[in-house]
Symmetry: C2
Subunit: 258 residues, 2 copies
């Protein structure tokens, strides 16, 4: 463990999740770790921030080179309070968010609290890596994710000073045994969206309610340069993420219309 | 009012907000309106979805050509339940989300529930327009927003069949009198991010808590093609929005690193 590095770990499944523990343990191989995870599950919280209620920050664990906090807010709140409150006086070397229980490939990057925290961290000029495993099981097997996550973290730390900022990676691991993983592939975000199916029920008071469930709709043929292709073929997919959402093509189409 | 068109209106400030009423009334000029807004304020909810709790949908108002529902979820949930439950059998002509109390220019597009609902609507192939006024006041003056919003909606409906999909616009109105607005400008998203300042307090039980507040940090000089420039100069800014977050430049930088 290098005493010189400070690694910030965030998460969206909560401070008790197995994936968060895996990320904290992995991060400790690379330096001192300060981790903040939500008190409760915050899956699907995207880039959400807490504007209208106060945030409680609670130290849950402390040992040499490690502090873990639980925060009563969203994953993005975790990154914000880390950088704008806890780390005001300290230089952070890396942000790791995850390891998420469930894939954040394709359009999931937009809904993901794990990626929300990573993106927010990258705004502070620190390389940020979101790690997600394509398995929602609370007891998922993170062995392959840890093995390849370690390689990716080492490569990014090694090259960080030569890479532009902001630098944010959306890393997704296939659901398979560690020795079945085919390697690491740089990829682009697959086009598609989630079409929902709402399950309708009636509560004991006679009110109808709905559960949101859905299925990913791929909006393009499987292409070899996409993250969904990589996962399907048991590669670790790495998509660098940026936050300029301007549709430059549409700007040209709208010329003369508006 | 054209009986032939169906307009879906969503929102993030809740079904009681003044801006939501302004959007509903504006939409009614263009067709039948079905509106769904959150039961409570959902500012800053981004693309968040409700995975772990049920959703209650409540009809709050019905008159000729108008139905208004309140939903116990996020702005994105509003769009999802509209398209995947209410509108299964019907063609929607336009999504209007807003009118938001507060600007969604620059990086705000990422945190905005108003834009979350608009983006989600655009995934269904329907032109979607998020409308936001650069004024957080609950009793803000929406006269200019309605006037120019009307023009933009009419132009988009007129050109819709010739424009590509998905089509999503982030429209922001300056805070000034309607007759002081200089016109409409197509623009790109300004680069920048929010740096927070956390106010720390102590509750009656001795626990520390924090309020998140922040200030937008512009990461570039004011450029004439940006949305912040347009708003500052009292133009209505229109930024088309897309959701491929791949950083293609970084893909090239990472070649050989990963």
């Amino acid at each position: 463990m290098s005493k010189d590095r400070l690694i910030f770990v965030a998460n969206d499944d909560g401070y008790m999740s197995k994936g968060f523990r895996a990320a904290v343990n992995l991060a400790r191989e690379f330096g001192e770790v300060i981790a903040i995870a939500p008190e409760r599950v915050q899956s699907g919280m995207s880039q959400a921030i807490t504007i209208n209620s106060p945030l409680f920050l609670r130290l849950t664990e402390e040992s040499e080179g490690l502090k873990i906090y639980a925060l009563s807010g969203t994953p993005v709140d975790c990154s914000k309070i880390a950088f704008d409150h806890l780390f005001k006086e300290r230089k952070v070397d890396l942000v790791i968010s995850g390891i998420n229980h469930g894939s954040n490939a394709a359009i999931n990057v937009m809904y993901s609290g794990t990626m929300g925290a990573a993106i927010e961290g990258s705004f502070y000029g620190v390389p940020a890596i979101g790690l997600s495993l394509d398995d929602h099981d609370a007891d998922a097997d993170f062995e392959g994710a840890v093995k390849y996550g370690r390689e990716i973290i080492a490569s990014i730390l090694g090259a960080a000073e030569h890479l532009p900022r902001p630098l944010c990676l959306n890393v997704n691991f296939p659901r398979c045994a560690a020795d079945e993983i085919q390697g690491v592939r740089l990829a682009r975000q697959t086009r598609g969206f989630w079409k929902e199916e709402f399950y309708e029920r009636t509560d004991p008071h006679g009110r109808n309610y709905f559960w949101l469930t859905g299925a990913f709709q791929n909006a393009e043929p499987m292409a070899e340069d996409s993250d969904e292709w990589a996962l399907k073929h048991r590669y670790v997919s790495v998509v660098p993420v940026q936050t300029d959402m301007t549709d430059y093509g549409m700007l040209r189409s709208l010329d003369g219309v508006l």
